[in-house]
């Protein structure tokens, strides 16, 4: 059947599957989250993971860094953490009689910002600016951050004591927000029976390296969004704006984010074109933290509302 268009598996996809599989060996029963995290990474976005301590947020970040061959640094946010602790400091060098910049932990390809909502807003914004600009300016000197650059921030649910919730404008800087959730029974049993995660991690060999990841990120931009697909994306955006369930609709930036994330997801699925399913797959993670339930709207969670909204938008 020569006329059936052959959807060639992109060379990237095979390896991507390997990455997913390798990460899945350590982070058990969390394949959707792993895929979303990878998609976020491929789309050059940053990821916010929100959940209780101990469900594997840190492990996920660590494993991703390992599998992708990225250098990894971890910043534990506390209430007394200062911006310089993240970005780095210039120290006076007596020999050369000038200031020498000592890069902070942010100068890594994959940064885990643990419990970001424990730090003061000043420190938070220093991180977020760096995330956005992909460069750090200290004492008038601009330093480029490494590429690829990917931040995974974790956040405790807001009702815990001693936290500074991220304002919405800052949340917008994250491409996706995901929940880890408890593992299911089977996965938990495997976790309990298996070797220590840390040991596993140390034994793990990287599947690819940063350069390959960069080339993949470039490919994401080439995944085709047809007019029909863009019609659908716009329909979704309009639905959020018309809905009475949310205070505001999605911004154009959110629309771009949705499209990029869908492109990355499509690449992850081994396709070179975006399908409505890709949009649907990433939409909850991309949209949920950008929308606020309107006052007086129903008591459902934002996630449930988004699910309803996606069900109401027909695919043109």
């Amino acid at each position: 059947m020569s006329y059936v268009p052959e959807i060639r598996p992109t060379p990237a996809s095979a390896n991507l599957e390997t990455v997913v599989a390798r990460v899945g060996e350590v982070v058990l029963g969390k394949e959707p989250q792993v895929r979303l995290a990878l998609a976020c990474l491929l789309a050059r976005g940053h990821l916010l993971i929100e959940d209780l301590p101990g469900v594997g947020k840190t492990t996920l970040a660590h494993v991703l860094a390992r599998a992708l061959g990225l250098d990894f640094s971890r910043i534990q946010f506390t209430s007394d953490l200062l911006p310089a602790d993240i970005l780095g400091v210039s120290v006076y060098q007596t020999q050369t009689r000038d200031f020498h910049f000592h890069p902070g932990p942010i100068f890594a390809q994959l940064v885990l910002a643990d419990e970001i909502n424990r730090a003061t807003p000043k420190t938070q914004s220093a991180l977020l600016e760096a995330m956005e600009e992909r460069q750090v300016t200290a004492d008038g000197v601009t330093q480029k951050l490494p590429a690829p650059f990917f931040v995974i921030a974790t956040q405790n649910p807001l009702h815990l004591i001693g936290t500074f919730p991220l304002p919405e404008s800052q949340l917008d800087r994250f491409l996706m927000r995901i929940d880890m959730g408890y593992p299911d029974r089977q996965a938990e049993r495997a976790l309990l029976k298996g070797r220590d995660r840390r040991e596993l991690l140390n034994d793990m060999a990287p599947v690819i390296n940063g350069d390959v990841l960069l080339s993949w990120q470039k490919r994401v931009g080439h995944v085709h969004c047809s007019d029909a697909l863009l019609d659908y994306v716009q329909d979704v955006l309009e639905a959020t704006r018309a809905s009475t369930q949310f205070t505001n609709g999605l911004s154009p930036r959110a629309g771009l984010a949705l499209m990029h994330a869908a492109q990355a997801w499509a690449l992850l699925e081994g396709r070179d074109m975006v399908l409505p399913e890709d949009v649907q797959a990433v939409a909850p993670s991309v949209i949920a933290h950008r929308l606020r339930p309107a006052e007086g709207s129903s008591e459902q969670s934002v996630e449930a509302k988004i699910k309803q909204l996606l069900e109401s938008v027909a695919i043109p």
Binding site: Y3, P5, H224, S226, L229, M273, E277, A314, I315
Partner: protein
């Protein structure tokens, strides 16, 4: 490429239907030979009979063609030509190996079908032909797409193709340059002439009037139609008699003016007559028309003769006056109008002289004669006794039973004997109104004869002696008279109300009559708008569309240019059309098909998820579903997917039949069940 049995059967059916129309005009041996060829062909692909060897085919061809030529003595002409085509078709059926052969056979079918129109151009044949053409298209589709799983697809595609071709066919029909003459330009065979009026009237020798229901002509009035009793359709004037026969006789010389010019009163009555072929040249007209029908010669007595016997339907539009004055009578005309047989019976002469002596003027003489008919026991009947050597005398004084011819002939003889100029007029009286088409049908059975007398005050004046005896004939029409005769009622003696009650029709007869009238109206419309669509009508159509009148060359040029423009536009349009949209339409169709088997796609369900769900629900469809989905996704969501993919998608969607489970998938399912057990 191997030929599919389904396609071959469809071809055989097409050929059978075509040959069936031709069978009546083919020699019997040829009809049998064609039937034999059809059966052989059927046996070849159904029961594995051997196909005829090449040498056998060759000799069969030579024999069949030679026999056809020998039978007709020529290969030219209608009969020989269609017989030869039938022979070729039958032979071609024995030699079907490739799609090309089927194409040739189908083309032969078309030609043979066309020859049918050389024999008749009825609405039935046209409808039948459309059916056959449709079937032939189905055949071609089935033959050219051998891996088609069902014939239904072929039927549907053929319908779509025909529907698409319809506007073009209509435009071609309306705009194609018309040559003068009939649609097929072939004269009808003269043997099929219908007996109607005759220019010899001999009432005494007829003892039984055979009445034919065949329509003589149809009339459409512009505006209100006159009363049935006023519908005297004049066709022939008989002025010479030898006592038993009435003939036209030598006509006095006519000047064009005297034929058509006369003073008249009141508004003219406009109408259009569609005359059936009758092999006679006389054109019936209502009273006195002011202009002669086209291509006709005026005759003495304001009647018209066509330039040749009417052998095909003829339409003409006229304007007539019912009140007129024909002016003075020339001496030659007067001589003619007073001519009497050499031997006139003394009784007749005496009767006429008696009236003459007692009357003040000619009109009083005529009135006396009518009073005589009324007073004496005259009866109107369609079954009069035969009369002898002097029919007028016998009829007037002894038999006293007869129909219009008897009354008219006797009346005129009496008038002439009393020196009143008079003549017999033959034509038709009345007609049947058809409400379905708002026109009148005048049948051959409506033929009638009446008299005209000349009075100085009025000119020629119509006098119908039959009306004096049997007013029912004039008022109710010939049908009523026939019915009354059958039920044994004497005419002229019953009040009109009672008569009406007697001839009232039952429900079945009434609906049958209505049905016939509707069918007649349809046929007339078919004739008017299709068969007699000529240059004149074409120009009329163009002018009513505010288009300039064009010569046939101009029209042909415009047609060709329009066709080219249309094709270019079509090409440009199809190239520019976004295949994605067409793909979407096709995909929706596919979804509808699945919805019919209970697999409805949710509006927010993407193609991939839907495919997974469908395949999970119906594993037997998985391959088809995957193929369609892949093609659709390619067309709708990727950058470069060409028209060939769209075609592939169309093919698959059309063929997609989730309602049917293929035998193989059933077997698979069964095997799976067995394995589970």
């Amino acid at each position: 490429m191997k030929l599919e049995r389904l396609g071959l059967n469809s071809l055989l059916l097409t050929a059978l239907l075509v040959l069936a129309t031709r069978a009546p005009s083919l020699p019997l041996w040829l009809t049998l030979a064609c039937a034999g060829a059809l059966m052989w062909r059927f046996a070849i692909h159904s029961y594995g009979w051997p196909a005829p060897h090449r040498l056998l085919r060759l000799s069969l061809t030579v024999i069949a063609v030679a026999a056809t030529v020998a039978h007709f003595g020529t290969v030219l002409g209608r009969d020989a030509g269609s017989a030869l085509l039938a022979t070729l078709l039958a032979l071609k059926l024995l030699e079907l190996r490739r799609p090309r052969d089927v194409l040739v056979a189908v083309l032969l079918c078309y030609l043979l079908l066309l020859t049918g129109f050389l024999y008749e151009q009825s609405l039935w044949l046209a409808a039948y032909s459309v059916l056959v053409v449709w079937l032939s298209i189905v055949t071609l589709i089935l033959i050219n797409q051998p891996n088609l799983r069902s014939a239904r697809y072929g039927l549907r595609l053929a319908t779509v193709l025909l529907a698409k071709a319809l506007p073009l066919a209509l435009a071609m029909f309306l705009l194609f340059p018309r040559v003068e003459g009939n649609l097929w330009g072939l004269p009808t065979a003269t043997g099929s002439a219908i007996t109607g009026l005759s220019d010899v009237m001999q009432p005494g020798s007829v003892h039984r009037l055979t009445v034919s229901d065949t329509p003589a002509f149809r009339v459409e009035f512009e505006g209100e139609a006159p009363k049935p009793a006023q519908l005297y359709w004049r066709a022939l004037v008989l002025s010479q008699t030898d006592g038993t026969r009435w003939v036209r006789g030598e006509s006095p010389a006519l000047t064009p003016d005297s034929a058509t010019q006369f003073p008249y009163h009141g508004p003219p009555l406009k109408y259009r007559i569609t005359l059936e072929a009758n092999d006679r040249p006389w054109l019936p007209v209502l009273d006195l028309p002011i202009l002669a029908p086209p291509n006709s010669r005026p005759q003495w007595g304001y009647v018209y003769e066509y330039r040749q016997p009417v052998r095909e339907r003829l339409s003409y539009t006229l304007a007539s006056y019912l009140r007129y004055h024909t002016g003075p009578l020339a001496s030659a005309e007067k001589r003619r109008a007073l001519q009497l047989p050499d031997k006139l019976s003394p009784r007749v002469q005496a009767l006429a002289q008696f009236w003459r002596a007692n009357a003040s003027d000619d009109l009083a003489v005529a009135q006396a004669a009518l009073a005589y008919f009324r007073r004496e026991p005259f009866f109107y009947t369609l079954h009069p006794p035969a009369l002898g050597a002097d029919p007028v005398d016998e009829f007037l004084f002894s038999s006293r039973r007869g129909f219009c011819g008897h009354f008219a002939a006797s009346f005129v003889t009496l008038m002439r004997a009393a020196s009143v100029p008079s003549r017999v007029v033959q034509g038709y009286l009345g007609g049947e109104y058809n409400p379905a088409g708002n026109y009148w049908i005048v049948r051959q059975s409506d033929a009638h004869a009446w008299a005209e007398i000349w009075l100085p005050k009025h000119g020629w004046l119509r006098v119908d002696p039959t009306a004096a005896v049997a007013p029912e004939r004039v008022e109710l029409g010939i049908d009523a008279v026939r019915q009354l005769e059958l039920s044994g009622v004497r005419l002229g003696r019953l009040p009109a109300e009672a008569l009406r009650k007697l001839i009232e029709l039952g429900v079945v007869a009434q609906s049958w009559r209505t049905l016939r009238l509707y069918w007649d109206a349809t046929n007339l419309a078919w004739h008017r708008w299709v068969l007699s669509y000529d240059r004149q009508r074409q120009q009329y159509l163009l002018s009513s569309l505010h288009l300039p009148a064009l010569s046939w060359r101009g029209l042909l040029l415009v047609l060709v240019l329009a066709l080219l423009c249309g094709l270019l536009a079509l090409a440009a349009f199809t190239r520019r059309a976004r295949p994605t949209d067409a793909a979407h339409a096709l995909y929706r169709r596919y979804c509808n098909k699945l919805a019919r088997v209970g697999l409805a796609r949710a509006p927010n369900e993407g193609p991939l998820s839907f495919a997974r769900r469908s395949a999970a629900a119906r594993p037997d469809l998985k391959a088809e579903v995957d193929a369609v989905t892949e093609l659709y996704m390619g067309l709708r969501y990727t950058r470069d997917c060409g028209i060939e993919h769209l075609r592939a998608l169309r093919r698959r969607v059309w063929r997609f039949q989730p309602g049917r489970t293929s035998p193989r998938s059933l077997a698979d399912a069964k095997a799976g069940e067995d394995a589970r057990q």
